[in-house]
Each structure stands twice: as C-alpha cells, then as structure tokens.
Symmetry: C2
Subunit: 352 residues, 2 copies
C-alpha cells in the first residue's frame, strides 16, 4: 500500500497537516525553512503521491472527465477522443471512455454511473435531438459539452462544424459536375447531423433550381451496412440518381460497396460524396470525395471548454463552430486521387 500522510507525519514527527501544506505549497501558512526542507526531502524519497480518492472526496473534484460516444472503433470517434485526451492531459485530467453503440439506454446508464462516480464533466458525442439524457445533464447541473451533434439548439455548450454549409458545399460540388439527379443518404432525422446535412443538401438543390425528388432522400443511419441498404433502395429506382451525397464517410463507403455490387462504376456511373474525411477515406480506391472537419480539434476544443466550465463554475453556454472544407477525390472526379495521395505520403515522412 502506498504511504499516507499520517505515516509520513510519524516519520517526520510533525502533524499531517504540515506535510499536506508543504506538499501543496499552501501559501496561507508559512513553514520554517528547515522543516520545509526536511519534509520535502522526505516527500521525494518516499515518492509520496496523495490518494486521489481521498483528495477527490475532500475537494469535491476528481480531475476525471468522461467521453461518451457511439463506438470508438469508428475512426471518427477515435480521433475525437485523442483530441479530448490531448486537451485534458495538460490540465491534469484523465479521461474515461464510454461506448453507447447508439443505444439511448446504454447512454443513460453510462451517464448515471459517471455521475455517481463524480466525474468533473462529460463530453457527449452521441446525443440526439431533444435528448432526455442531455436534459438530465442540464438538470443535474453536470458540466458537459456536446460535440458534433447538438440536442436542443443553443441550450448546451457545443463544438462542431457548420453542417448546413458543409452539406451545401458537397451538394454544390456534385451540381457543378453536372449531376441533376442527386440522391441523399440522410442518417437519422432525429440526429442534428442528419437533419442539418439533409437541409443543406435540399437548400442547395433548390438554390440551383434543381427539382427535389423525395424518393431520392432516404434515412440510412450511420453505419456502413445502413449506407449500403439505403443506397440499394435508391439505386434500384427506375430512374436512379447519378450521384449520392452521404451523411458520413462510413455511410458513403457502404454505398460504394453497394454500387459495385450492382455493377456500377464509381465515379463514372455514380459519383459519391461522404462527410468527415476519416483517414480511411483517402485509402479507398477510388479515394472518397468528402467534407473535411477538424476532428481532433473538435475533441481538444471540447476539453478546453469543459475544463473552463468546471474551473470557473459558470454554466454559460458557448459555441465553437469550425468551417468544413471540401476534399475532392476519385469518387467524384476520375483521376483526382494522384495529387492528394502523394502529398499525404510526403507529409507522413516529414513527421517521422
């Protein structure tokens, strides 16, 4: 068992509180230089580290954050987590990771357990619109930040990208390539990303004077399998689209696979655009045209906002919105892959 303050106090023949004051550099009380030195030496040689649990009880602060996401094996969320950890570590926080697999029940039970553990704050990337769990967080006054997806507009501190704009840029790209029948795999309309990207897509079509065919807009969920299934539906239509904008890269990948199974060539017969620019997107053949968002930055910014919220103790809602950026690859423009791929490898070498 690690050494305690009381044991140290016995060794040094002083009161535990004195040790605590030296260890914490307590400015409210001065310590005689010689005892201070004696105690500091003792602290060093015993490698004393205060019991974090006891400390947490007394200080009512655990220096633990939690990240709640659907699934860390999805590269998007893995990158997000790294951002959070990188942002939190320098401020002395460790980070718990909870996967919900998209289940509201699992999310709720995770949140309750985290609350019972008295984590200092929660970063939630799995919320749906009007999420009861999010309202519960607000009601319990648990410091929290929503990432990527918001729940009730403007009610919580939020970090994300401008999904409306990103969807418009993606759709515009397809329109400018000459596509007139454009399908959309819309995720879920109970999720802000699904709703906003769909809205952006439709707005852009309308702005360009293109007709909107409701049959070409289908909910797909966010999994690869969901994307494939949804793509199958709209690609089996008598008048199938020549392009698809998918709500995420994973959904787009499902669509790509399905297109191939149906004997369609990408991009010649079907152009596909994804969203997020996960690492996998540039690896596919052809590369996936997509909307890049700064995933790692999402996490780091969320951690910063959360910790600010914790230390200041205010519940003022803040919003950090990044600008998305179109990345053109071979899934929309044949031959577009060469340039970017080379550049990427050069960068990889440079960092080693």
């Amino acid at each position: 068992m690690p050494i305690t303050l009381k044991q140290l106090a016995q060794k040094a023949e002083v009161h535990p509180s004195t040790i605590s004051r030296v260890a914490n550099n307590d400015p409210s009380l001065r310590i005689a230089p010689d005892t201070r030195e004696r105690i500091e030496a003792l602290l060093r040689e015993t490698e004393y580290r205060p019991n974090g649990v006891a400390r947490g009880l007394k200080l009512r602060q655990t220096f633990v954050l939690a990240v709640v996401i659907p699934d860390v094996t999805n590269p998007f969320f893995a990158a997000l987590f790294r951002g959070v950890e990188d942002g939190a570590l320098s401020r002395g926080y460790n980070v718990l990771l909870c996967n919900t697999d998209g289940s509201p029940d699992r999310q709720r039970s995770h949140l309750q357990s985290l609350h019972a553990r008295r984590v200092d704050g929660i970063i939630l990337a799995s919320s749906v619109l009007k999420d009861p769990s999010v309202r519960w967080l607000r009601h319990q006054r648990i410091p929290h930040v929503l990432v990527n997806r918001f729940s009730d507009e403007g009610q919580d501190t939020f970090v994300g990208a401008d999904d409306l704009l990103g969807a418009r840029v993606a759709t515009r790209h397809l329109v400018e390539l000459g596509h007139r029948r454009i399908g959309h795999l819309a995720g879920k309309l109970t999720v802000s990303t699904g709703l906003m990207r769909r809205r952006g897509c439709l707005e852009e079509l309308e702005a360009r004077g293109l007709p909107i065919d409701p049959a070409l807009v289908v909910e797909s969920g966010y999994t690869e399998a969901g994307g494939a299934k949804a793509a199958e539906r709209i690609l089996s239509l008598p008048d199938r689209p020549t392009a698809i904008f998918a709500v995420t890269d994973m959904t787009a990948i499902g669509a790509c696979t399905m297109a191939r199974r149906l004997g369609l060539r990408v991009p010649e017969d079907l152009a596909i655009v994804g969203y997020n620019d996960i690492p996998l997107a540039s690896r596919l053949v052809p590369g996936l045209t997509t909307v890049r968002v700064p995933i790692h930055e999402f996490g780091a910014a969320a951690a910063r906002l959360l910790i600010d919220q914790i230390v200041v103790g205010d519940a003022s809602r803040r919003r950090v919105i990044f600008n998305p950026e179109l990345v053109v690859r071979g899934s929309t423009v044949a031959g577009a892959d060469d340039g970017p791929l080379r550049a990427q490898h050069a960068a990889a070498f440079a960092t080693e």
Copy 2:
C-alpha cells in the same frame, strides 16, 4: 448537488447507517420490515446513488480500470479497447483510456497518475521487453494484465496470440507461393511482437532450407511511415526480395504504398503479408493478406483476468494464448479478394 446519506437519514428520521444497510442489502443486520419498506420507497423516489468517491475511499476500491495503449486511432487498439470495455462493464467497472504514443515517459507518467487515482487495475498494451514500468507495476503490486506484447517472459498475466506460430504461418505461405527471397519488416526488437515474429520468420525460412540474408531483415517500427521507410531500404537493394512479411498491418500498408511509388505491382512484383487483420486490411486494393488475431477477444479476456485478479486478490500469473490464423487476400495471390469480400458484406447485412 446529489442527495447524501445524511440528508436521507434526516428525512426518514433514522440513522444514516440504517439507510446504508438497506441500500446495500446488508445481511449482517436485520431491519424491521416496515422501516425497510419506508426507506426503500425513499431511495426510489430520491433516486439515491451513493457517492462513488466516498465509497471508493471507504472500500478501497474504485471500480475503475485503465487501458494504456500507444494510440487509439490505430484501429487495432480501438478494437482492443472495445473488448476491454465490453468485458468490464458487465462487472460494474468503468474504463480510463490513456495513450502513450509509444513514449516510455508518457507511459510512466500515466501509470503513476493512475496509481494515485487508485484505479483497481491496469491493462497495458504498450509494454516493451524488460519494461521498467511493468516492473514498477509488479513492485507496487498493482493488478495488471499485459496484452499483445509481453515484457519479461512469464512474469505477468498475459493475453495474446502465439506470435511465433503466426509468423511461421505467414512466412510459410510466402514460401509455398514460391518466393525465395523474402524480406521482413521487424518492428522493434525491444518489443516482444517484433522479436517473436522475427524469430518465427527466420525459423520458418531455416526449416524450409532457404538462405537468410541479414540485409532483408530490418527494424521498421510499427507506423505506416516506418514501414514505408524500411521497405524502401530493402526494395532498393540490387537483389531485392519478391515478398515481404511485415510485423503489423500498418507497417505492411506503408510497404504497399512504397512499392507502388517504386513502380512495383502488388502482388505480381512484390507479395506482402501483414499481421493482425485490422478492418482496414480487407478494404485496401488489393486486400492485404494477413494473420488474423482475435483483437476484441484480447480485450475481453484481459478484462476478465484482471477483474478476477482484483476480486480474488491473488497475484498468480496466468496466460491466455490465442491461435493466429492466416487470411489470404490479393496482396499475395492475385484475384484472391473476391470471395472474402462478398462474404464479409453478407455478414454485415445479417447483423443489421
């Protein structure tokens, strides 16, 4: 602030300990049926959850585990983490995640911080041979399990695959395809996976009566960039190999990219085998032939072993070794990709 035992006690006009006994179903003391019922009703309506920090202090157990890995954005470690979480959650544990980026210093500092937080146990997937951090864990008697990589043979509870066998199988595959000059990207020889897979590779070559050219065996590290760099070295030799066995899939991917940059076709000019079968491996074009290990199972088994170690309190070392399995794809056999890919998609549909 959440309600405390003391506040509940006031409401119910009983002593806090009585509430605690009801909440915990304490068998050591019997409670009158009517008070029990009264208190249980109160517990339900206030949604009382004991303060985990206070509980942790008193019980000397936090129900928190930690996973220490190089980088969760590496799909191998993301899958590993999921395994751990899935194994731990059902037993009431939450899991902290720490990324080391392969730095021994970061690893050490994480470990110390975790110890100060009194996590109940640590799963370490980033250890090197003769790792001082691992010895420190042993010395502090911190329950721990090493995963995938071991440190000092047999000294710690370990979950992994038979790397020697896996490497032999991979090498045998190349030999049976007729390759006689086989290169090996060996990771790092300070890491058990690097050492064992290299040994397996060389043993198999020797068993098959093939000459071993030391110039064809180079340390590559475990990154994609490292794999590319190492591949460049052996592919620039006057008498270059016709096949490469890489210590991991990521390393193999780097080698693939480098091969293409050097104008070599895979598999016609250069066959490549990786290790682990990360999800990405089946997505590449051509698909990557690799040695599959049950990554998720690694994590789940590690969590089980760790929790057993914690609850029983014994430090008996156990070893769980899974059998690796060769997966043949297009990076060694032209045209091998069709079958497996179709099968995979069928499975994906089935699960939705």
